[in-house]
Each structure stands twice: as structure tokens, then as C-alpha cells.
């Protein structure tokens, strides 16, 4: 827990982010948090609150979080059960209907191959969410383990890891994708996820390293060390819980960007390949037909934009709640 009051800061940021509704929410927060302990740390009425319950308390009242959360919940549900809202088969196409517009049973019309755009857009969410979530998990786990260990132990391994992350930071993502993924012939999502993890972990690892270094200098860690606690105990019990917040924040925001990256790579023909259903593939296929069938381009593009926006806004809200100093 930070040992200085940060109430006013929070209220200001709330105004900036969410407008009037948010201001009202922040005021409620401020009022509720009025009682303070002798050390200046905020205290809710009654029992003490951890960083996490404090953040959750904050998030619940953030309309940005609620809105983006609902969109993401919806995306996750249709990713798991697309047939809930789309009864067709995204791979079944009738060329006779190519480029036709909206009609009964096919609200988004048909693309250049006569496939139902609505069905394909719904099924496209699955790959996007799967790639985004898997890549983020991979990056977060790999990055925080490597970065955390390097930050905790320091020395040669830390220096080595820092140089390695420098090397990875220097690789342009799209160029790297064109080079590495163009040799892959498989059309599963794993090569794409693997590529994102490969190029994404250094970012998390730097953040994890930094926050572990900060956390390990805290008095209670020193105290644990003086009492003879083992390295693993110190890491798991005292450092990790206090260092993980920035990782979660960055990972949440990165999730949206991984979805956009998947679409970019698929658009360029090196990401997912047909018969996988992906928004990037559909955008690429529909772009030459923009003059005659703009709907085939606009729906998947719109879905992609909305999804990325939702994840980035969610990340912003989580960041505000978890790490007010970053504002």
C-alpha cells in the first residue's frame, strides 16, 4: 500500500476520464473513504481494504469499465458459443448471392464469394479473442517470470536479460511478422500466438523487473530477509503480490493491440489463413470490392475497431484503479 494519501488525485482523474457520471462516482468514493488511519492511509468505514478490493470498488463505479466490460463479456460469450446468435456456417458460401446487400435472414449481406457477412463477422470474434487472450497470457507469464527473476537476483543475468530485451525491442513487429510467419504453412492460431509472445514478452519483462526492484527495497521485504526467509518465500509471499499490478495493467491494454496485430498480419496474408475465419482475412478479401460491396468491408472492420477499443478502454480503467500514480 502506498503510504501517502492519494484521494484528490483519484477524483481529478475520474473527472477527466468519464465526465459527469464519473465525477459523481468519484465523489461517492471520496465521501466513503473519508475516515483515515493514523498513518494517513485511507480506510473505508469499518474494516481495512486491500489494493485489490480498493481497485474493484473503484472499477465498479467507472462507467468506462462497465461499458467496455459488457462489450467484452458479449464478445467472450459469442466466441464460446457463436451459434447463439448466428445459426449459419461461416464457410458455406453461395456464389449466386455474391455481393448482395442486406436481406431477410442475412442482415449484413454477402461478400464477394457469396458468404454471409453476419455469420463470418460473428465467428471472426472467436479467433480474435482467442489470439488476444492466449498471446496476452503467454506474454504475461513469460515476461513476468523472466523479468521478475532478473529484477530480484540482479547481477549478470539481469544485465544479460536487459540486453536481450533491447534486441527484441529493436525488431519491428510487422516486418518481423512478414519475415517469420511467411515461412509457416499451418493455418492454426498457434504460430501467430507464438510470434506475438516472442516479440511481446520483453515489454512485460521490463515492467516486471522494475516493479520487483521497487518492491524488494521495501522495509517488510528487508525484514523478511533479516528473519531468514528463503528467496522463494520472499518472491512469492512478499514481492509478487505487490509487483503484479503494473503487469496486469499493461497486459490488459496490450490485449487489444494483439487483436489488432492479428488482423494486420492476417490482412497481409501471413497471419491466419483460410479456412480460418478472421476479421483480418475478411477485411483483406473485401477491400478490392469496396466500390460494389462496401458492407462486406465495413462490418468486420467495425467489429475489429469496437473490440480493440473495448480492450484498450478496459485497460485504461484498470490502470486508473490499480496504479493511480501512473495517471
Amino acid at each position: 500500500m502506498p503510504d501517502e494519501p492519494y484521494e484528490p488525485e483519484r477524483a481529478i482523474a475520474g473527472t477527466g476520464m468519464g465526465g459527469q457520471m464519473d465525477l459523481a462516482a468519484s465523489e461517492a468514493v471520496t465521501l466513503e473513504k473519508m475516515p483515515r488511519g493514523p498513518d494517513g492511509t485511507e480506510r473505508p468505514a469499518g474494516r481495512p481494504r486491500s489494493l485489490w478490493s480498493d481497485a474493484w470498488h473503484d472499477l465498479r463505479r467507472n462507467p468506462v469499465f462497465i461499458l467496455s466490460g459488457l462489450v467484452i463479456l458479449f464478445l467472450v460469450v459469442i466466441s464460446l458459443w457463436p451459434s447463439l446468435i448466428a445459426s449459419g456456417n461461416p464457410l458455406q458460401c453461395d456464389l449466386a448471392k455474391a455481393q448482395e446487400g442486406s436481406q431477410a435472414g442475412h442482415p449484413f449481406g454477402f461478400n464477394g464469394q457469396g458468404c454471409d457477412v453476419y455469420t463470418r463477422t460473428v465467428y471472426g470474434a472467436r479467433t480474435s479473442v482467442a489470439v488476444g487472450v492466449c498471446a496476452t497470457l503467454g506474454v504475461a507469464v513469460l515476461g513476468s517470470v523472466l523479468g521478475g527473476l532478473a529484477g530480484f537476483f540482479g547481477g549478470v543475468w539481469d544485465a544479460l536479460l536487459s540486453r536481450v530485451t533491447d534486441v527484441f525491442f529493436a525488431i519491428p513487429v510487422v516486418l518481423g511478422g512478414l519475415v517469420l510467419l511467411s515461412v509457416v504453412t499451418s493455418n492454426s492460431i498457434w504460430p501467430v500466438i507464438g510470434f506475438m509472445v516472442l516479440l511481446g514478452w520483453p515489454q512485460i519483462s521490463r515492467i516486471a523487473r522494475g516493479s520487483v526492484i521497487t518492491a524488494k527495497q521495501n522495509d517488510y521485504v528487508q525484514a523478511a530477509r533479516a528473519l531468514g526467509a528463503s528467496n522463494s518465500r520472499m518472491l512469492l509471499r512478499h514481492i509478487a503480490p505487490n509487483a503484479v499490478a503494473p503487469v496486469i495493467v499493461v497486459a490488459t491494454i496490450a490485449l487489444g493491440t494483439y487483436i489488432a496485430l492479428e488482423a494486420t498480419l492476417s490482412y497481409l496474408g501471413v497471419g491466419l489463413k483460410p479456412p480460418s475465419v478472421s476479421w483480418g482475412i475478411d477485411i483483406s478479401a473485401a477491400s478490392p470490392y469496396i466500390r460494389n460491396a462496401p458492407h462486406a468491408l465495413l462490418w468486420p472492420s467495425g467489429a475489429l475497431a469496437l473490440t480493440v477499443l473495448a480492450f484498450i478502454m478496459l485497460g485504461d480503467a484498470v490502470r486508473d484503479a490499480l496504479d493511480p500514480k501512473l495517471r
Binding site: 456456417n89 464457410l91 458455406q92 458460401c93 453461395d94 456464389l95 449466386a96 455474391a98 464477394g112 464469394q113 457469396g114 458468404c115 519491428p172 513487429v173 510487422v174 493455418n187 515489454q203 521490463r206 515492467i207 495493467v249 499493461v250 491494454i253 496490450a254 487489444g256 493491440t257 489488432a260 496485430l261 488482423a263 494486420t264 490482412y267 497481409l268 496474408g269 489463413k273 483460410p274 479456412p275 478479401a285 477491400s287 478490392p288 470490392y289 466500390r291 460494389n292 480493440v308 484498450i312 485497460g315 485504461d316 490502470r319 501512473l326
Partner: protein, 542 residues
């Protein structure tokens, strides 16, 4: 704020990537010295421009501008007419005496003589030079010594070729071949200057020929600049100052550049724009019949596709393709469903026979499913149709063919497209025998004879027999057909050979393709020849 910074950065990269593919290419139109220069869309050729090593369309386009051979095919009718040949005489259809016209030179000043041809042909035939078109010399006596099937060559020159004077040479064939003179307009048979042999690398960097244009510069992946050769001695002098052939990796980009005024001529109108092209270009859009057939070829060197009983699978695949629907919807009727393995431009007398393919080329989904099951099913449960993604809107039709196959087989993953970035890479993979499934095989005729639609493609070790199909009966019928004196009898034999192709479904015929082109307001007198190549030398600029 690392997180937010990162987010912006990827978003920008996304936008940049989308923008980059949408507007690659482009550039300035540019007039050079000596008359107005026009720009035209193009793709990199597979190989350096050795005439006997160029058997693909993009390289052939340049050779046709830089070289002139003994014969030339009339840009209007396709008939073979004398160009450098003064006369080609024979009494027995097997021994020919060829006289070269006087007054022709290469653009470096060297005279074109009988020796220019004989040296070029010997070079093209020799095994050690590894020329893709070597096979075109295989009927000349001595070919088995110069280009044995196994081992090293035991002679450097074809014994059937003899220079008998400065402008005359004789050709002795190993068997009768009545239409041999008509094939001599193909670019494998053009003459070559001494510079080609004396300083080969310099020649490859900047080819020297005897045609109406000269090569000024070539940057792979970007542009080839051709300029009018002012002293060109032939009758078909260039009517413009030159042609800049610009490399495009997407025909949609080329079309957009044409509309934006950055490009003068597009000889490959993208399928996606066919609905708009008439309103966009009006009478500056050309759509004329051409000697092109699109087929799906198979890798017979692959153990899955080469095994017995696969003919049923191939026939089944053919019957699973709804050619009518695809040519109508994807190509807006600029293609016609194929019912044989030749082209309507040959005419019925020339060997085109509508309906020769019969039921096997009709859309019969139920029978298709049954045949494929009888043949043991698709190898690995899935076909991957390989194609090049840069020209011809191949993605559009390959996807449509796959959807048609999937619908017929009731399996939405039975067929999937397998794109290769550029035509040159695609050809390279094919000629290195790296295909593992059916692949797109468009055939643009080299000369308007039925022989050219069959022999190079299906004869054992034919120059463009990319799938390595081999059938003794077919080979025998083709040899017999070539030996016929009478054209009608020869055509009949060739059609019998074609029936062998049909019975084995050596390749799946898809559709006959029209030549299509669009051009800017700066140009006039733009035409496509029966090979679908623009007649560049006749185009007027301004």
C-alpha cells in the same frame, strides 16, 4: 505510460501496413528522350531473359518487344507470317532450307545471319545450358546427343543444323513435322548476337536483340525501361518513344493507378473491378478472345497425387466445379467455361472441339462426391490449390472453386487456396517440383496451333509439363500427328491425343480466358493480339 505508448505504436503500425499494401507501386509516368513513353503494368519474369529459358508470360512479353524471329504471328489473326524468313523450303516435311532476309541487324550493329540462328538454337538445346525451352529443339536431329535424358551431353551442336551460306541454313528433323515452320515465331527460336556468347553476364544485365525496342534498364521488383530503337529495320517500327513496364504485385493496385492517371496501360483488369470497368473506362476497355486456357494441373511426382486410381479423384474434382457460376459472377462473363483442352481462337478447323471433355467438365456435385470416394478420397482429406496472388485475380476464382468443391462434397474444409506471393516465385516452386497439390496452370499459347496446347503441356518431359504427367499412348499419338502432311488429318490425331488427356483427366480444364485491358486517355491504337499481349509497337501516345 508505457502501455499507452505501446498501444499507439501498434495502431500506427497497423495503419501503415494497411496503407502500404493499398498503395504500393505508383510513381511517375515520365516522358523520355525520343518521343512519348507509355507505362504499362507488368510482373517480374521468372528467369533472366534468355529466349530459350523463358517459357512464362511476363518474360515472353519483353522478348516479343526486343526480338524478332523468322516468323511473326499477325497481331490481328494470329497467322504465322514471314518476318526474318525470306523463304522456308521443304519437299518432305522433314528437311527444311531456311533463307534469312538481308538487311537485318541487332541493335548493337551486328548483322543477323544464318549463324545467329544456328548458334542460338544450339545454345538453347544444350543440356549444360539448362534452358527451359530446350524441348522445342527435340525434333531436330542430334538432340539426343546434345540433350540426353541421362548422363552428360556427347555433342555441343545439333547435327541437324547446318549453316550453308551467310543467310541460309538447313534443318534436318528426326521425323516429319509439317507445321514446324509455323512454330518458328515462338521466342525460343529467335536469333542471338555474338555478345550473348562473348559476354554473357553483360548481355543478361542488358539484353541486346533485333526487335523494335531496346532494353534501357531493368530493376528487379520495380521497372523495366524499354526504348524505341530508331534504326530498327523491320516493317513494324514502334509508334511510341518507348515503354516502361512497371512491376505490380497486385492488379487492383495497377487498376487504381490507371484510374489515378499514374499508369497508361493495364493488361490484367482485376476481377473485382469488372462490374465497374465499363463505366470507368468506356471504350478504353478491351475485352477480346485470346488463346488462353486456365487449368488445374497436378503434381504427378508427388506420391499422393501420382498413385493409381487418382484419375477418379481428378475427374470428381472437375465435376465439383461450377464453371458457369464462377465465370458469370467472378469474371462477369469475361471467361467462358472450358469444354476441351485447347482454345476457341484455334477455330474448329484448327483443332478446337467444343464439348470434347463431355460430362467430366459439367457441374455434377453428386457424381463428383461419388467419384472422389471411389478414388479413395482426397489425399490427406484436403486439397490445397496453389496459385500466384499478384496477377489474374486468381485468389477470387480459387476461393470460388474451393467453395464450389466444398459445397459439392458437403465438407467445408475439403478445399482451400494456397497463395504464393508473386508469379516469379510461383513458377520457381513449380519448376523445382515443389507442388504438393493441384496448382493453377494458365496456358497462353506460343503459336496458334493445337499442337501447342497439347505437346508442351502433356508430352513426356514437355517444356511446360509442370506436373510431369507421362503417357505413352499420348506421346505416340502426338508424334504421329506431327508427322501427318495433311492438316486436317494432323488435327484429328491431336484430338485423339486430347481424348487420352481427357480419359485420364491429366489436368482439369476450367475456362477460356479473354484478353482484357484498360488504358488511359493519352493512348490510342491499343489492341491485344490473340495471345492477349498488348501490341505495344502500334500504340500511339498523345
Amino acid at each position: 505510460m508505457r502501455g499507452a505508448t505501446h498501444a499507439k505504436w501498434v495502431a500506427c503500425a497497423t495503419a501503415a501496413a494497411l496503407a502500404a499494401t493499398a498503395c504500393g507501386g505508383g510513381g511517375d509516368g515520365g516522358g523520355g528522350a525520343g518521343g512519348e513513353v507509355l507505362s504499362s503494368s507488368w510482373g517480374d519474369p521468372q528467369n533472366p531473359l534468355e529466349p530459350a529459358n523463358t517459357n512464362e508470360v511476363q518474360g515472353g512479353k519483353v522478348l516479343d518487344m526486343v526480338f524478332r524471329g523468322l516468323k511473326r504471328y499477325d497481331p490481328e489473326t494470329g497467322a504465322a507470317e514471314d518476318m526474318l524468313a525470306e523463304k522456308i523450303e521443304t519437299t518432305d516435311q522433314q528437311n527444311f532450307t531456311i533463307t534469312v532476309k538481308d538487311g537485318w541487324t541487332f541493335s548493337n550493329g551486328e548483322k543477323v545471319t544464318a549463324k545467329s540462328f544456328v548458334d542460338a538454337w544450339n545454345y538453347g538445346a544444350a543440356l549444360k545450358n539448362n534452358q527451359r525451352n530446350a524441348y522445342f529443339f527435340s525434333y531436330i536431329q542430334g538432340y539426343d546427343k546434345v540433350h540426353p535424358e541421362k548422363g552428360e551431353q556427347s555433342a555441343d551442336t545439333l547435327s541437324g543444323l547446318k549453316v550453308t551460306g551467310e543467310r541460309t541454313f538447313t534443318v534436318a528433323l528426326a521425323q516429319k513435322w509439317s507445321t514446324f515452320p509455323d512454330t518458328l515465331g515462338y521466342n525460343a527460336y529467335v536469333p542471338l548476337p555474338r555478345a550473348f556468347f562473348d559476354d554473357h553476364d553483360a548481355w543478361l544485365a542488358k539484353p541486346v536483340g533485333n526487335g523494335p525496342y531496346t532494353v534501357q534498364s531493368y530493376t528487379r521488383g520495380s521497372q523495366m525501361s524499354l526504348r524505341k530503337w530508331e534504326e530498327y529495320p523491320g516493317p513494324d517500327k514502334a509508334q511510341n518513344g518507348g515503354v516502361d513496364l512497371k512491376v505490380y504485385t497486385d492488379n487492383n493496385t495497377a487498376y487504381t493507378d490507371l484510374m489515378a492517371g499514374n499508369l497508361d496501360l493495364v493488361d490484367d483488369v482485376p476481377a473485382a473491378q469488372l462490374r465497374n470497368v465499363r463505366s470507368d473506362l468506356g471504350d478504353r476497355y478491351l475485352n477480346t478472345p485470346a488463346g488462353i486456357i486456365q487449368t488445374l494441373a497436378f503434381p504427378y511426382y508427388d506420391k499422393n497425387w501420382g498413385k493409381e486410381g487418382m484419375d477418379k479423384v481428378r475427374k470428381g474434382l472437375s465435376m465439383a466445379i461450377d464453371r458457369e457460376q464462377i465465370t458469370e459472377t467472378i469474371f462477369q462473363k469475361t471467361r467462358t467455361p472450358a469444354t476441351d483442352w485447347t482454345s476457341p481462337v484455334l477455330g474448329a478447323d484448327g483443332g478446337y472441339k467444343a464439348g470434347l471433355c463431355g460430362d467430366a467438365c459439367e457441374y455434377r456435385p453428386d457424381e463428383a462426391k461419388k467419384l472422389i470416394q471411389e478414388g479413395g478420397g482426397l489425399p490427406g482429406g484436403q486439397v490445397r490449390i496453389a496459385y500466384n496472388a499478384d496477377t489474374g485475380s486468381h485468389k477470387d476464382w480459387v476461393d470460388a472453386v474451393c467453395n464450389s468443391v466444398n459445397n459439392a462434397l458437403d465438407n467445408d474444409r475439403a478445399c482451400v487456396g494456397n497463395p504464393v506471393g508473386t508469379f516469379a516465385d510461383f513458377r520457381k516452386q513449380i519448376t523445382e517440383n515443389k507442388m504438393t497439390g493441384p496448382f493453377r496452370a494458365g496456358w497462353q499459347m506460343d503459336y496458334p496451333l493445337i499442337q501447342n496446347f497439347l505437346q508442351p503441356l502433356y508430352y513426356t518431359n514437355g517444356s511446360s509439363n509442370d506436373g510431369k504427367w507421362s503417357n505413352a499412348e499420348f506421346d505416340k499419338l502426338v508424334d504421329e500427328a506431327n508427322a501427318e502432311d495433311d492438316t486436317a488429318a494432323a488435327v484429328e490425331r491431336f484430338q485423339q491425343a486430347e481424348e487420352v488427356v481427357r480419359d485420364n483427366m491429366a489436368a482439369i480444364p476450367l475456362w477460356y480466358q479473354n484478353g482484357s485491358a484498360g488504358y488511359s486517355e493519352r493512348l490510342s491504337d491499343v489492341r491485344l493480339n490473340p495471345f492477349s499481349v498488348p501490341v505495344y509497337d502500334q500504340i500511339k501516345v498523345g
